[in-house]
């Protein structure tokens, strides 16, 4: 028999490792200059999310969390990248720098600020439970959410914005698997397919913008505004 305390400590450390890398990919998404690299980072981040869900599932002995891990792997690391590559291949393989409002060093400084802010928001909540997973996943998930939101706001092109929104969902789920492991299965299934619909809808819209306007630099589309 394996000592349950030892299992817990090993799982906590493995989960902390996944969490640390998850935060790094969050920063990476802000710093990345190329579309394809951003997409690959998103895939890596999704794998880390699935890993964390797997560790938590092992600890809670929860079939739900295994399902989350499986769905994340299937949808976010296989299906969505494949769909995006098929729908908007020109945009993804274009070897040019992503247009940004702020340059990358400034962005990274702001990103550090956001990560600290995430810990600041999460810290009053961490006294609520004594579970080690929540203490790690909640602030990191929150930071992932805020970093990705910042990425969507400064990127001025369609595909990086799609990736940013998908990464925001990753952040929300990274916190969610720790705080709400018992969420009913149907809700989890629906949420997983919801992410898939986001990717399809935004991918199709990007393609249509590309056909109609000739570029996907959505930041330049500013004809609708108040005078």
């Amino acid at each position: 028999m394996v000592d349950p305390l030892l299992t817990l400590s090993v799982l906590t450390k493995l989960n902390a490792l996944a969490g640390g890398f998850f935060l790094l990919t969050g920063f990476g998404l802000v710093a990345m200059r190329q579309v394809l690299a951003s997409l690959n980072l998103f895939v890596l981040q999704s794998i880390l999310l699935a890993a964390s869900a797997f560790f938590l599932g092992y600890q809670h002995d929860s079939i739900h969390l295994y399902a989350v891990a499986g769905l994340t792997l299937g949808i976010k690391t296989l299906l969505i990248p494949r769909l995006l590559r098929r729908m908007i291949s020109q945009e993804i393989y274009a070897r040019r720098e992503i247009l940004q409002v702020l340059n990358i060093p400034t962005s990274l400084l702001i990103a550090v600020g956001l990560a600290i802010f995430a810990y600041f928001i999460a810290s009053p909540l961490l006294t609520m439970g004594d579970e080690p997973f929540i203490k790690l996943n909640l602030p990191i998930g929150l930071a992932g959410l805020l970093l990705a939101a910042y990425g969507v706001m400064v990127r001025r092109e369609a595909v990086p914005q799609v990736i940013g929104i998908l990464a925001m969902e990753n952040g929300a789920f990274f916190a969610g698997i720790a705080v709400a492991p018992g969420l009913p299965m149907i809700a989890e299934l629906a949420a997983a397919f919801d992410v898939l619909i986001i990717a399809i809808v935004m991918g199709l819209l990007t393609r249509r913008i590309h056909e109609r306007v000739g570029t996907t630099a959505v930041g330049r589309m500013t004809s609708l505004k108040e005078e």
């Binding site: 969507v152 789920f173 705080v179 009913p184 919801d194 986001i198 809808v201 199709l204 819209l205």
Partner: protein, 481 residues
Amino acid sequence: MELIYILGIPAVAAGLSLIPMGRKWAPAITILGTLAGLFLSWRIATQTARGMEVVAVPNWISCDGFGALILLLVAFVGFTAAVFSWSYIDKIVAADNVAKIRRYYARYNLFLLSMLAVPAFSQVALVWIAIELTTLLSVFLVSFENTFEALEAAWKYVVLTCMGAAFALLGILLLYWGMGNSGPGSFTWSGLVAAAGRIPPPILQVAFLFILVGFGTKVGLVPLHTWLPDAHSQAPSPVCALLSGVETTTVLYALLRLLPILKKAPSIHGEDWFVVFGLVSVGVASFLLIQVKDYKRLFAFSTVEHMGIILVAAGLGGTAANYGAACQIVSHALTKSFCFFAAGSTLLVVGSRDIAAVRGLIRTSPLAAVALLVGGLAIAGAPPFAVFLSEFSILKAGLTNGQYLPAVLLALFIIIAFCGILFPINRMVFGNPIGNSAPQKPATTTILALVFAAVPVFLLGSYVPETIHELLRLAAFSLGR
């Protein structure tokens, strides 16, 4: 069982719309489907008005008085907008492009389905998914005309509201955590109210702020409103009626459902957040209204204003203000959809969204002109229309409660918005016509849709049917004391 049918009918209608059977098939199916939906939701309304809860699947799909009110509104506007679509979509789509008409009606039905699902679901995580789907299923309706501006509007719409949805998702997961901490209970609106006193206030506070920001984006609260005037002006007019009239309302409904939970934890000051966000929205929208140059944007900004008014009314609290908030939800949804039908008929006659391009509409198209005038007066809050009554009751409740500052500010902003809406409409309707466009005969379905939509706008200004009154009372009650 009615709830299941209500959700099932639009799904079936969406599938049937795709069958290639000529130009009239899809619109006919859609009108029949929405009519059946309206009939069923009226039955649910009469049942819930007696104080019962209509349950289809316990803890998952059920509907109380507040939910039935929203369900009825969505079904009604869904029906009138389907009637209005008949000739509108026929005119804007090229004669040989029948497939585009089929796609429109399939998307229309799916969008309607997602909006009906919001009040029909009682499980909070599913409500979040339904709200997210209202965005995703309406994106291609916003970009339907495929112009540069429509695509820009659709992109802003999907990016901003999906960002909001991610924030709201985290908020809802935190809420679930808070409930789990407090012991067993189902994760439904009523389960949350029952467990509210036991949810640790710090968790509730953070969850509330995330949900407020997330759903607030979709409701169009200032400063998260930037996408709303774009999307609500570029979509085809019947879709605008749905977006502005009921889509914002369904999301606001989810936000208002949090109010009784927040009232159990006084340290969070949930009501004050509502009042402040609401007043900022009303104020900014009323000043932006003055300088708008596009008449569909005018009505879109008026939606931001009205969402703010409802939020302020709900935040003021007390039985009278809550009742006013419920009335305002109903009168806004009905009046705003009518306004967009009027704007749509004007657009068909004039061919331009520019306020300056329309003069003396009363000579070229009397029907559109009268509709625009009535819609403008009704939405601005002139007596004897429904909005006047609800705004008046909100202000009166605020003053009798002794909340003078918010009530006076609200009155001031409403007066500014009143002028901002009616001056441009006055210029469009009266004055000397530009050019010499011949008077045009409106389509029968356009007249029908305008008449259907106008009936409650006039009626609720003077007489509220017993069932509706009961539903309003129940809705006000479920906002908490």
